[in-house]
């Protein structure tokens, strides 16, 4: 009898341990990584989806980290996200979308910026050492220099221009030889 009680106590202790250790505060983001290219001085934007794989509502705030921080803005500072339904399956049902805009400074050189868009929930205010949970979308942004006029000229433009110049030269030579161009209405 004593052994049974001891065993029961141990089983209950183990079960309670698992219950207390059950994870229930979560955060997710999609996409996990973005690679962008934009002309420096111009804007580009992406949408990121944040969702809650835990089982409690979570208030999430956004921030940009790394090289992209000085020129990145979010459409919302924070959102409150309700948990995803169990069992967890894609697509995300209860996530919130926020638009992130990047405007890298104008530069004559191509520059690659690395950073992360972080979504952070918490911390618990009354904790001695409160933990905050976070997820991040990694960002690689390449800012290209503004194009010059020469970038728009193609081989076709050169061929047409050269033909026009030849025709013009032809008329100049004809004119120097005393020839005259006229448009006359036939009588």
């Amino acid at each position: 009898m004593k052994n049974i009680i001891t065993t029961l106590i141990m089983v209950i202790s183990v079960l309670l341990s698992f219950h207390v250790a059950q994870a229930n505060i979560g955060l997710g983001t999609s996409p996990s990584k973005v690679v962008l290219q934009v002309q420096s001085g111009q804007e580009t934007s992406v949408e990121i989806l944040v969702f809650n794989p835990g089982d409690q509502k979570l208030k999430v705030s956004f921030a940009a980290e790394g090289d992209i921080a000085p020129f990145t803005t979010f459409s919302e500072e924070s959102v409150e996200i309700t948990p995803e339904l169990q069992p967890h399956t894609l697509p995300i049902k209860n996530g919130k979308t926020t638009r992130v805009t990047f405007k890298p400074p104008a530069s004559p050189q191509t520059k690659t910026y690395l950073g992360a868009l972080s979504a952070t929930g918490g911390p618990t205010e009354d904790a001695q050492f409160g933990g905050a949970v976070g997820v991040a979308t990694l960002v690689t942004l390449t800012a290209t220099p503004p194009p010059s006029v020469l970038d728009y000229i193609t081989a076709q433009h050169i061929i047409i221009g050269a033909t026009a110049i030849i025709i013009l030269l032809m008329f100049i030579i004809l004119k120097k030889r005393g020839l005259k161009l006229t448009f006359e209405k036939e009588e």
């Binding site: 996990s32 894609l90 001695q128 050492f129 905050a132 991040a136 061929i159 033909t163 161009l181």
Partner: protein
């Protein structure tokens, strides 16, 4: 040749030149004259019978244990004492040697993740205990791993420690366990201190 004939001849040349220019323009502008221009004649008949579409969606998602957000080092910290356990470091299982602090990569994550950590100083009014007085150690296999000891622990820093992550390239549904320890500086002023830390999951590159 009479003057009138010369002028008529020149007009013919002018019209001919304008015609050549117009043809060149049309030839190099396929949208205006699609049946001409470079590559317009292939010798094949083509027809479109269907489109392929697909959207790639990448996600990272992590779930933390509740105790991981409410970490305490107790109310009887003594200045000069090192490696004080966080209260949930050794509480789980039988014998009670497992940590309750853990983070799991959720089933919604279709990307392996790196898990990093950073912290902010403990503050009590005007007094401060710097965050590197807290150390952490993790294990990707066991909640009661013996190597999660103060000897092996890392300093908690003010920025995300990407060189020494809590978990590296972790796939779902794996769990990473961790413990916290605290050194109380010998000159620490009495008071109730609060600090915080942030653990972040990001795609493993």
């Amino acid at each position: 040749m009479e003057k009138r004939d010369v002028e008529s001849h020149n007009n013919t040349i002018l019209i001919f030149a304008l015609l050549i220019l117009s043809l060149l323009f049309l030839y190099f502008t396929p949208s205006l004259l699609p049946s001409l221009g470079p590559g317009a004649i292939t010798g094949y008949i083509t027809s479109q019978v269907g489109n392929f579409t697909g959207t790639v969606s990448t996600t990272v998602a992590c779930v933390w244990s509740t105790p991981a957000l409410i970490v305490s080092f107790g109310t009887t910290l003594t200045p000069g004492n090192n490696d004080t356990n966080a209260t949930q470091n050794y509480v789980g299982g039988v014998p009670r040697n497992a940590t309750f602090y853990n983070v799991s990569v959720d089933a919604l994550s279709n990307t392996n993740v790196n898990i990093t950590i950073r912290g902010e100083d403990f503050i009590s009014g005007a007094n401060k205990i710097a965050i590197p007085n807290v150390t952490w150690i993790s294990n990707v296999s066991l909640a009661n791993a013996t190597d999660m000891s103060p000897t092996n622990s890392r300093l908690l820093t003010g920025s995300f420690n990407t060189i020494d992550p809590v978990g590296f390239n972790i796939a779902q549904p794996n769990t990473v366990w961790f413990r916290f320890y605290m050194d109380v500086p010998s000159g620490a002023i009495a008071g109730a201190y609060t600090g915080n830390y942030t653990m972040q999951c990001a795609a493993a590159t």
